[in-house]
Symmetry: C2
Subunit: 245 residues, 2 copies
Amino acid sequence: MTEISTIALEKNKNNKGCTVCCQSCSISELCLPFSLNHSELDKLDNIIERKKPVHKNEILFKQGDMLGSIYAVRTGTLKSYKITENGEEQITAFHLPGDLVGFSGIFGEQHNHTTSALETAMVCEVPFNDLNFLLGEVPRVRYQVLRLMSKEIKNEQDLVLLSRLNAEEKISAFLLNLSKRFERHGFDPFNFRLSMSRSDIANYLGITIETVSRLLRKFHNDEILEVNNKQIIIKDIEKLKNIKG
Amino acid sequence: MTEISTIALEKNKNNKGCTVCCQSCSISELCLPFSLNHSELDKLDNIIERKKPVHKNEILFKQGDMLGSIYAVRTGTLKSYKITENGEEQITAFHLPGDLVGFSGIFGEQHNHTTSALETAMVCEVPFNDLNFLLGEVPRVRYQVLRLMSKEIKNEQDLVLLSRLNAEEKISAFLLNLSKRFERHGFDPFNFRLSMSRSDIANYLGITIETVSRLLRKFHNDEILEVNNKQIIIKDIEKLKNIKG
DNA sequence: CGGAATCTTGATTAGGTTCAAGATGAGTGG
DNA sequence: CCACTCATCTTGAACCTAATCAAGATTCCG
């Protein structure tokens, strides 16, 4: 929590010993700094701005906004959604720490989804023009950005595959995906709190909230999960992985 | 057709007046060369290899193959698909001329889908390491690659949105998407031939071939389309756009 | 021309939605 | 701290869209 109180004071031009910079960031292995050396990190640090916290339900950027920056999630959870022609919200992603948000806006030079916080979140802002310049200067930053964009393409493809599953498989895949990501961040993969509502889950998975509710109950009764409102305990991960076919 | 007969003879190191190079390519506006000047084009041309034609059902690269190259489609149509855990094929994209294929393989350094030809296709091979090097040298190539990767993220997101539609809306969206892409290539957007089978369409849209067949018949009866096996004539594009809500 | 693959059409079935109503939980003010 | 309210979540019953199953019809291709 000391980190939160010291952030966003000012852009740090001399990073030696700083408390808030890529060098000391706990998620650097999952984020842009991955595999960079000290001098490369310094260059990256100099273009990144730490932002004030984004509070629950606050919007980080809106669909249609000019693409100014990419954002890296440091703490908290956010969701991205599009407004369809019919005016409905369609959630396209949940973002955990280490995720980069906004790459899809490069084409067309404007963000093509809205991103808002599900709970208070800390993000780092990476101005796109600065980043683009850095790509020319530092090969490893370039490679890392390509990797992360490629990963986002992969994520979206996985979401397409998800859409072909039946409701039980969707819930299972959703929980297993969250579990894996929590584990990667050093959190308990078998006992976690959902930061999103049933409605968000349903929207994301393309099913109704009633179905989400019914299936979580079913998994609870089948002793695969312990469901207590937003708190989830995975009791039998093998069963969860073997849901249907 | 003269183009086809002269391709793949050898890598062209001096592009002045060449018949097969980015400078003279009819789809350069949709592809990597977009917005590049002559000297930039030369550099790009020097790393690109023109391939022999990929014949119908031939595989360009396989899921799991090491990522060696990205490919640009020059003529013909290809499809990309993944094999799911259950051994089923899941089509994730159809590729028309100008599309770039393979970006999702950068993360993980291996292709994560298989790409094969639906009809004889000509592709240009872009070795990834050479391209990555060029990104550092030529800012406009870098920007163009970022744009195209970003576009691919956007495409995948659209596919996710597609999955939320009902069957009629899916068919409608699919045909409108094809129509738009044909138009962009200078072909008739209202009269075209589907290069993919009903089975491929159904797979891609996440519905059954029976449903595809029934709905094409229905649209035909409603005088929205004229359907003659693979030949499609769009008779009333406004009606097609207004399918359901 | 003949056989296989692809496509069409019909009848039945089922998974998930919709509609409806009650239960639980979070937030607010007295 | 409790009562009150609104939002979220759960549960049940009826319904509907698209899947499945089953046969023909057409097209493709050697």
